[in-house]
Structures are given as C-alpha cells and as structure tokens.
C-alpha cells in the first residue's frame, strides 16, 4: 500500500507548498497567476486522492479555472490602466513622489514577519489542540449514512449540502448573491473585454461549446443526486460558458436585457428562501422538507441555484453591472437600483 501510491502522495503533498512558495516568490505577476492555476489543478488531483470527487470537480472548475480567469482579467485591467498612466507621465506631467520610502518599508518588515510567525504558531497550536480533541472513530460519516434513506438523494455530500445542513448552503448562496450585488454596485462593465477581434476559430468554438456546456451543466445537476456533482459544479460549467461568450465578444451577450440577468441572479436565492419559509410555515424546521417530496424539492432548488450560480459567477467575471443600453434613455438606469433594493429588502 505504501509503495507506489504512497510515493505519489508524498510527491503531491510536497509539490503543493513548493508551488505555493514559487508562486508568491516569482517577481512576475503573470507567472504567479499561471502557477496559481496549476496549483489549483494539483489541488483537484489531491481531492481525488483524498476520495472527495465532488470537491475535485468544484476545485477544477471554480478554484482553478474561474479564479484563474478572474485574476488574469484583473491583471490585464490593471496593466492597461498603468499603461495609460505611464503614457500620461511621459507626456510631460511630472510624476509625484508617492511611493513608500524604502526605509520605512524595511523597518516594517521585521515587525510584520514576527507577527506572521506569532499568528502561525498560535494557529498550529490551535490545530494540534483541536486534532487532539477529536473523538476517536468519530466524525459524522456513520450518522449521515444512517439518515441517508430519508434525505431524498443517494449522494452523501448532496444530502448534507441540501438537506441536513441546508441552511449552510442557503447562507452561502446568499454570500454569492451579495458578492454579485457588491460588484454591480461598484462599477459598470466595459464591453468588449478583449480589444481585438476574436477570429473565426474562437467564434466557432464558442458556437459549438456553449450548447454542449448547457447539456453538461444539466447532467451535473442531475447526477448530483446519486454521485459526484450538483448545483455548484453545474453552475460553474454554465459560468464557464458565459465567460467564453464574453471572451468571444459575442454581440448577443450585449443584447441580453439587464432585467433578465437580474432575475437570473436572484432566482436561486429567492427559491431557496421561499422553500425555507414554506418549510417553517408548514410546521417544520428551517428547510425541513416533507420526507416523501424531499428528492423533488432538492432537485428543484438545485436547478434554480445552478442557473443563479452560473449567472452570478459570469457576472463576477465581467466585473461590473451590465452596460447601459445604447438605444434606450435613462429609464433603464433607474431599474437596477430599485430592483436590487427590492431584493435586499426581501432577504431581510
């Protein structure tokens, strides 16, 4: 047992921190981000080794793919900005001395370093303490296994996510929604995200892949009931389709009405919340489904959340609220604020 797979485990476990170190130490930010994406893929491999296929799927799609895309687009945006700034400086404007002086920087270093070490030591102690506190042979695995029959699904992780600890997932969907609200209230997206023409290959690729991605997202949501998969993975695939459409500079994307986007964003959280309230009203606890219908409820919530997660993640990638429609006048501008307020009010 300890032969081939053990060596593989060891190499993998060593590669992760090494890659993390290289990533933070590399002077070039672009290289750091590429290393970050490869670290995410190695993490996905690690999840498979640790028998967590659900997490592996989510990590590969969200942790490596989508986060990497977010970082790369942010870097691109910053570089474009600083490029403009540099041109401005060369045009004759004297640049101000607003850099932190190196002395102060250096003086701050030992303090920061000491603080980091202290925090780390505290954390290690806490971790060791909590590991020692864990009861032997414990864990919630047997308990979940016992109750799995009445959860309505056959996959343990989905049962925990949407039935036993459904309120966690409810809150988490809300966090995602809040993040989208935050980004939307901060800036307005500037399309196109790419400067240059996408070219025929990318256009055809998008045309081919976008419907297939919708199919795969549906499949992931369906298979989540019995095996690895679920709303997050399906939503991530939908978001990837959205990112592809944004990158390919498809005109249709710009013509999607903002109201539709807003409803897509709110669909999952609203339905989830509604279910929770209905469950309470029917005399149960929060998100305590009727046992016979649990499977149907979970499937409904999962599909709605998958759509919402997809729209939300794609909106986060776009990095702002939808651009103003060119033809209409200011009537559309009033809309987003009012709708967002209504949603926020509905949540409380």
């Amino acid at each position: 047992m300890m032969d081939a797979m053990g060596i593989f485990d060891m190499v993998l476990a060593l590669a992760l921190p090494w890659l993390g170190w290289r990533l933070l130490a590399s002077p070039d930010l672009f290289r750091a981000m590429v290393l970050f994406i490869s670290l995410g893929l190695l993490m996905a491999l690690t999840w498979v080794r640790l028998q967590a296929p659900d997490v592996a799927l989510a990590e590969a799609a969200i942790g490596a793919g989508l986060t990497g895309a977010l970082f790369l687009s942010a870097l691109r945006r910053l570089e474009r900005l600083s490029e403009a700034e540099r041109r401005l400086a060369f045009a004759g404007k004297r640049e101000e001395e607003d850099e932190i002086p190196p002395e102060r920087h250096r003086r701050a270093k030992p303090v920061a370093y000491g603080l980091a070490l202290l925090l780390l030591a505290v954390f290690v102690l806490l971790l060791a303490w909590s590991l020692a506190q864990t009861p032997a042979g414990g864990g919630l695995g047997p308990a979940v296994g016992e109750q799995l029959g009445q959860s309505g699904v056959r996959s343990e992780v989905t049962a925990v996510l949407l039935n036993f600890r459904g309120y966690d997932t409810l809150l988490e969907v809300m966090v995602l929604f809040l993040a989208a609200l935050g980004v939307w209230s901060l800036t307005r997206v500037r399309l196109p995200l790419q400067d240059e023409e996408p070219g025929p290959v990318l256009a055809t690729l998008v045309r081919l892949l976008a419907p297939l991605m919708i199919m795969v997202a549906g499949y992931l949501v369906w298979i989540g009931g019995s095996r690895a998969g679920g709303a997050f993975q399906g939503g991530a695939v939908l978001a990837a389709a959205g990112v592809l459409l944004l990158l390919a500079n498809v005109t249709v994307v710009r013509q999607i009405p903002a109201a539709l986007l807003r409803w897509g964003l709110a669909l999952g959280p609203l339905l989830f919340l509604l279910t929770a309230v209905v469950c309470v009203a029917a005399g149960g606890n929060l998100l305590e489904y009727p046992p016979q219908r649990a499977g149907a409820w979970i499937l409904l919530i999962e599909s709605a959340s998958a759509v919402s997660i997809g729209v939300t993640l794609a909106a986060l990638y776009a990095g702002g609220r939808p651009p103003e429609p060119p033809a209409q006048d200011r009537g559309g501008e009033q809309g987003p604020g009012r709708d967002a307020d209504a949603d926020a009010g509905g949540r409380q």
Binding site: L24, L50, A52, L78, L140, G141, V160, L161, V183
Partner: protein, 110 residues
Amino acid sequence: MNTLLFYDFSGLALLAIGLHGLIRSSHPLRKILAANLMTSGVFLIMISGARGTGQTMIDPVPHAMVLTGIVVSVSTTAVALVLVCLVQETTNRALLWQKRKREKWGRTDG
C-alpha cells in the same frame, strides 16, 4: 495513515506560506493570491481530516463545507479584485508599475 499526515502537513505549509505572503508581499494582487493559498491550506487540512477520522466511512460533512468554502472564496476574490481595480482607477496611481520597479531591487524573499 502515513499518507494522511503528508497532506496534513502540506495543508499547514500552504497556510503558513499564504500567511507569510499575505503580510510580506507589497502588491495587492499578490496579497489576494496569498489569501487564496491560505484557504487552500485550510481546505486541505479539513478534507484530510475527514478521511482520517473514520476507518471505513468518509465523513461527508467537511466535504460539503469545503464545497461551500470554494464558492465563498471565489466570490470574495472577485470582490477584492474589483476593489483593487477601482482603487487604481480612482487614485490614478500606477500601482503595478511602481511596485514592480521597487520589486526589482527590493526583493529579498524570492
């Protein structure tokens, strides 16, 4: 049992490196990267613990929590990145450019 300890230590090391980077690095994008490393480390510790506790049965609760955590971390990352871009836009300070210049001669931890 041995292999589990590998992953525990690996997660701890990732966490430490992330914390180190979060405090030491000067560029905001690098700080966000470091925070992401820290979350990865925490996830690794949690999942490796989930396999370790039961001899026969996997504990699915940490798996579900990590799934949730991945989505939460991507949303915080997205908001942070937009904030960084906004800071640069509003202060009109060429952060990247100046920091890069300093990093050329000021880096000691690479």
